[in-house]
Amino acid sequence: MHSPRLHNDDVITAIRSGQMRAVEDLYTQYRADFFRWGRRRFDANKQDLEDAWQDAVIAFYTQVMSGKLNSLRYEARVWLFSVGYKRLLNHRRKIKRVLWKDEIDEALRHGAYWLDFQENQGQLEKKENLHKAMKTMSGQCREMLMQRYFMEKSIEEIQQEWELNSANTTSATLSRCLKRLKDLIKTVQTAVIS
């Protein structure tokens, strides 16, 4: 049931090459450990810990994919715990103890992995509008755009997955989908203004 432990570089390489399984493995590998660790420090329930842990894993994925995270000073576990810790702090959970001192504190003291999870009202509204626009798209367009621009799959990979005739057809379909998305965003934004 347990996945083999991935080394730092392996996990980054695996994620870059589009292996979503690597993200799941990372999530599985340290989840129970994070829950235990989080419970000792925070007055948090299981859902808070789950949210924080998911945010940490997602942040890891997006940082790797955006090229901001190319190598790790500490092991992946420390990175994830530090980000999860910050996420729990942001939710203003009461800290049970501040006397704990371990490698996570050390990493945080050095200013590593200090991501910002705060969002203001304007950002939330904008997010909501973008979500609305995305939801209006057809399922295929939505999936294809995510594969291209979120998972950064190549045109050839997308062509293969969707069994399209050629790379040109795939590119044209993607362009059409992106244009449609932009039109929808414009419509939603205009509706909000008027």
Partner: protein, 286 residues
């Protein structure tokens, strides 16, 4: 013109512009308002895709978390179940044997100084056959839910699922999964499902087949979680079968009340393909 601009903006976003192109790009952004707006729109579109991607990833992790929590409630090794079951049988048999064996005369009981109220502990106070008489009383037979499940569960198949064999052509991962499913190789199908791409893993039709595989190998809790999701999504082309299989997964997981409630609903639904099955199964359960 617009198409060219879109390509230019996309290249900018991918950090694919040369220094000269980049300088020209920034100049145009400062001077041309329509171009600036087009860049902003592209940024918004990328943000929309990123947010959707994150939501998809979160859903995937939530499903994984549920799966992990379900596994945690089961003992890690099936031998533990066997040992516990065997121990329960041995203890039960020993207790029954003790209870039913003919009473042997007890050694004389020393009289306790208790006046006239000393209870008689002799063996004659109870009729020897009482336990046997009790045993012959009619007892309402409760159905064994696992047996009922086994009698009713068949992995879903219809002609549309039969894979078209394309000569020597290589199968795509999702075709391989469906082929294994069709061939009844359920464990191998589950392994094949794990290696599918993200969109295929989120394909509710394939997830429905995965749930069937899980039921076949006895992982009812995981199947329940998947079928519950399918029910909420309501996107699978097997939608009219989801409730039936969810009821069966409740039964396999010994969640009999949930199974009965769902079966009642199916039995009451005139349009349900499983209406008569649900009625008959309900009768068997009661």
């Amino acid at each position: 013109m617009e198409e060219q601009d879109d390509k230019l903006i996309e290249r900018f976003y991918l950090n694919d512009l040369s220094e000269a192109e980049l300088a020209a790009f920034h100049r145009r952004m400062a001077e041309d308002e329509a171009f600036w707006e087009a860049v902003q729109l592209h940024v918004d579109a990328m943000e929309a895709i990123r947010l959707e991607g994150i939501a998809m990833l979160r859903k995937r992790l939530t499903d994984k978390g549920r799966e992990l929590d379900t596994d945690m409630h089961l003992p890690a090794n099936s031998w533990l179940w066997w040992t516990l079951g065997l121990a329960a049988i041995v203890i039960g048999a020993w207790a029954l044997w003790n209870w039913m064996r003919p009473e042997t005369p007890s050694p004389p009981v020393p009289m306790i100084e208790n006046g006239d109220f000393a209870p008689s502990l002799g063996p004659d106070t109870l009729p020897a056959q009482t336990p046997l008489i009790k045993q012959t009383e009619p007892v309402k037979k409760t159905p064994n839910h696992q047996q009922v499940f086994a009698a009713w569960f068949k992995p879903y198949k219809d002609p549309s699922l039969e894979p078209s064999r394309r000569g020597g052509a290589t199968q795509s991962p999702s075709e391989r999964f469906q082929q294994l499913y069709w061939d009844g190789e359920y464990r191998a199908a589950l392994a094949a499902f794990d290696s599918l791409g993200v969109s295929a893993k989120n394909n509710d039709n394939l997830v429905f087949l995965k749930a069937n595989c899980l039921l076949t190998i006895g992982n009812a809790n995981a199947a329940e979680a998947l079928l519950n999701n399918l029910r909420d999504n309501n996107r699978s082309r097997f939608g009219n079968q989801v409730d039936w299989y969810l009821a069966l997964s409740h039964l396999q997981a010994s969640h009999v009340k949930e199974a009965e409630a769902l079966l009642l609903r199916i039995a009451a639904d005139k349009g349900s393909a499983r209406r008569s099955d649900a009625t008959r199964l309900l009768r068997e359960l009661n």
